[in-house]
């Protein structure tokens, strides 16, 4: 005797919540138009452009020399990578030969920058998850130490303008390398500290495990790159799969997880990347050759030969590409950025479908989006 269960159709209304552009969890100025059924997300529409500053327009209206000072602002958490992408694109067109010492220095500072970027991500991600009064302070402590090193070598805390077309701009002193080594010695212990607090924390596991699962098919369809896709099991790391600069001479492996990644995997991928970066910097310090650091004269009227080039680097957020068309003059004809955040953010509506309101922050934070990188 099976009793028939009658489904009563209760009338409910969907609620539209406007999250952002000013919201503590949107990392700046993203605006999400959420259609909620209770606390379940039905539909998401991201509204971008609240930080659209016309970076590509600037590229066409600034000289090469001026613009390379500006592009640290494209992705302010990893300014070295934006500089590097532009420098590589211009060098490719121009045929500039970069001295090996400069290449090693580029790798070193970039990996340092990757660490600072991931540290900031770690802090803000835990804020997103609600641990806003304790943990986030610890990653920032180490971040400040790296910033001191950056300041010493580049003159600025965040906007380095250190990697230039043709090389790097300043040669570090030996003491700087010593300081860096000291930092590298103590930093693994700090990562252990973070992991002690976070990795196996039951609430953290509950919030991140099996949340925001990114399947390979969806990821490929949207062109997702970076730690997001590596944690989904696709070993796409430009440093290994399409090595540039001196990465072929350095020993490290691509970090992937052999399954479909959830937010916890994305967290873990970044933790492992920080450890990996330490090893890469160590190798660079050991192998650092002597010699020149600049292959092209830096001056206000600098020119790049005519032609077009595309170059990409593996930034902390994914493949950061730079498409440059030069007419041979002092300015570019067209600058086009391929920003990892912009492409990775596109999967957000896909990931948010059917998840509860609180998971928006867990998922959105795990993609690691920087809004100037999205809006330019």
């Amino acid at each position: 005797m099976a009793t028939e269960i009658q489904e009563i159709d209760l009338k409910t209304d969907e609620m539209i919540i406007n999250m952002g552009p000013q919201h503590p969890a949107t990392h700046g100025v993203l605006r999400l138009l959420l259609t909620l059924d209770g606390e379940t997300v039905k539909h998401t529409e991201p509204v971008l452009g609240h930080l659209h500053r016309g970076q590509e327009w600037q590229g066409q209206n600034r000289t090469w020399f001026q613009y390379q000072a500006l592009i640290d602002r494209v992705d302010y958490l990893s300014g070295m990578f934006t500089s590097w992408a532009m420098a590589r694109a211009c060098e490719e067109i121009d045929g500039t030969v970069v001295p090996p010492r400069a290449e090693y220095l580029r790798v070193m500072v970039s990996e340092m920058n990757r660490i600072t970027s991931h540290l900031l991500w770690l802090g803000t991600y835990l804020i997103d998850l609600g641990a806003m009064f304790g943990f986030p302070f610890y990653p920032f402590r180490e971040r400040e130490k790296l910033f001191d090193l950056f300041e010493e070598i580049a003159g600025q805390r965040m906007m380095f303008n250190y990697i230039r077309i043709g090389g790097v701009v300043r040669d570090p002193k030996p003491e700087w390398l010593d300081k860096l080594k000291r930092f590298l010695d103590e930093f693994p212990d700090r990562i252990d500290e973070y992991e002690t607090i976070v990795t196996q924390n039951p609430i953290f596991l509950k919030r991140t495990k099996d949340v925001g699962i990114l399947t390979q098919a969806v990821a490929k369809d949207y062109g997702v790159t970076g730690p997001c896709i590596r944690s989904s099991g696709i070993p796409l790391d430009l440093r290994r799969t399409k090595p540039y600069s001196v990465y072929p001479e350095l020993k490290f492996d691509v970090i992937t997880f052999d399954k479909e990644g959830d937010t916890w995997d994305r967290y873990m991928a970044r933790i492992l990347e920080m450890r990996q970066s330490i090893e890469i910097i160590r190798q660079c310090i050991d192998k650092l050759p002597s010699g020149d650091i600049m292959g092209k004269k830096q001056m206000a009227g600098m020119r790049i030969k005519a032609g077009e080039g595309f170059s990409a680097v593996e930034s902390p957020r994914g493949i950061l590409g730079c498409y440059v068309i030069s007419g041979g003059g002092e300015k570019a004809l067209r600058f086009r950025w391929r920003n990892p955040s912009f492409c990775n953010l596109a999967i957000l509506p896909e990931l948010l479908k059917g998840c509860p309101l609180s998971d928006i922050m867990a998922i959105f934070g795990s993609i690691d989006v920087i809004l100037p990188d999205v809006d330019r």
Binding site: N18, M19, G20, P21, Q22, H23, P24, G28, V29, G49, H50, L51, H52, R53, G54, W57, Q58, N61, A69, L70, R73, Y76, L77, L120, G123, T124, P136, F137, F140, R141, R143, E144, R157, M158, M159, L371, P372
Partner: protein, 289 residues
């Protein structure tokens, strides 16, 4: 954050031309009027107390758009520690904040949000314009989408230059702001309760100032656009009208300057009238640093 959530109701001195949804969305509860009279009376006694309390507990809002926001986070962290000055209580909602640090470039699309946030903050409210972008537009000075100076849309108390400013700079700006707050008069500050709105409103859908747009709506759209395009690099107009002028500017019929073929010729005259008022307003307006 919460614009669009609140319905609006009529305010006594709002011009009917201003669309419903962008009107000031707050009202003051009636008890304030009683306090007002009392405050006038007790001002000499209250001022020192109020200033001490206000200057020592400036709660910032978590408003950050770009690079400067990261330095704003840094200043709350261990190395710089804004908590020593009692300002580590970053409130997410404008209703509970005293100060807004406009950390990062303000674009035309973001400007309406910033204006709303500013107007949602309860008096006394202070603004620190942080970074070159918010002071003049900075490196993006000539970009098509950047508001060149946040003082064009909201009144600013302290300007903090740098790109981005160091965290020590923020602490310095905070101390300057505290000094400024200590010179205030309680009764004078209370008078600003209703007047301290934004300098001008910006339309979200077109990214243009509302004062222009009202004229456009009344007159011909195309004429307005052509006038906007021809005005490139032309007459240097005065700096934005200040707080007290906001409402009158918004309501001023800007239409006449649109209907003429070369509107920027007529606009300086119209502007001049405003500018004289501006100067008076500017004198009254408080700007330190």
């Amino acid at each position: 954050m919460s614009q669009g959530n609140m319905s609006t109701s009529a305010k006594p001195n709002t011009n009917p031309v201003v669309p419903e949804e962008i009107r000031d969305s707050v009202s003051i509860s009636s008890i304030d009027f009683m306090i007002d009279a009392l405050g006038q009376m007790l001002s000499p006694v209250l001022s020192p107390v109020a200033n001490l309390a206000r200057s020592n507990s400036v709660w910032p809002m978590t408003f950050g758009t770009s690079c400067c926001a990261i330095e704003m986070i840094s200043v709350g962290m261990s190395a710089f520690d804004i908590s020593r000055f009692g300002s580590e209580v970053f409130r997410a909602t404008p209703r509970q904040a005293d100060m807004i640090i406009t950390a990062g470039t303000i674009t035309r699309k973001m400007a309406p949000a910033l204006i709303t946030l500013y107007e949602q903050m309860p008096e006394p409210k202070y603004v620190i314009a942080m970074g070159a972008c918010t002071i003049t537009g900075g490196m993006f000075n000539d970009s098509y989408s950047v508001v060149q100076g946040v003082d064009r849309i909201i009144p600013v108390d302290v300007f903090l230059p740098g790109c981005p400013p160091r965290p020590e700079g923020i602490l310095d700006a905070l101390l300057k702001l505290q000094q400024k707050i200590r010179t205030e008069n309680y009764a004078d500050r209370r008078k600003k309760l209703y007047a301290q709105t934004s300098v001008r409103k910006v339309d979200y859908d077109t990214g243009r100032p509302l004062e222009d747009l009202i004229g456009v709506v009344q007159e011909d759209t195309n004429a307005a656009l052509s006038s906007g395009q021809e005005a490139i690099g032309d007459v240097a107009k005065g700096i934005s009208p200040k707080a007290e002028e906001a409402k009158t500017v918004a309501t001023k019929p800007v239409a006449p300057k649109v209907e003429v073929a070369k509107p920027e010729v007529t606009s300086p005259e119209a502007k001049k009238v405003e500018n004289t008022k501006d100067e008076a307003a500017e004198k009254a307006d408080d700007k330190s640093v």
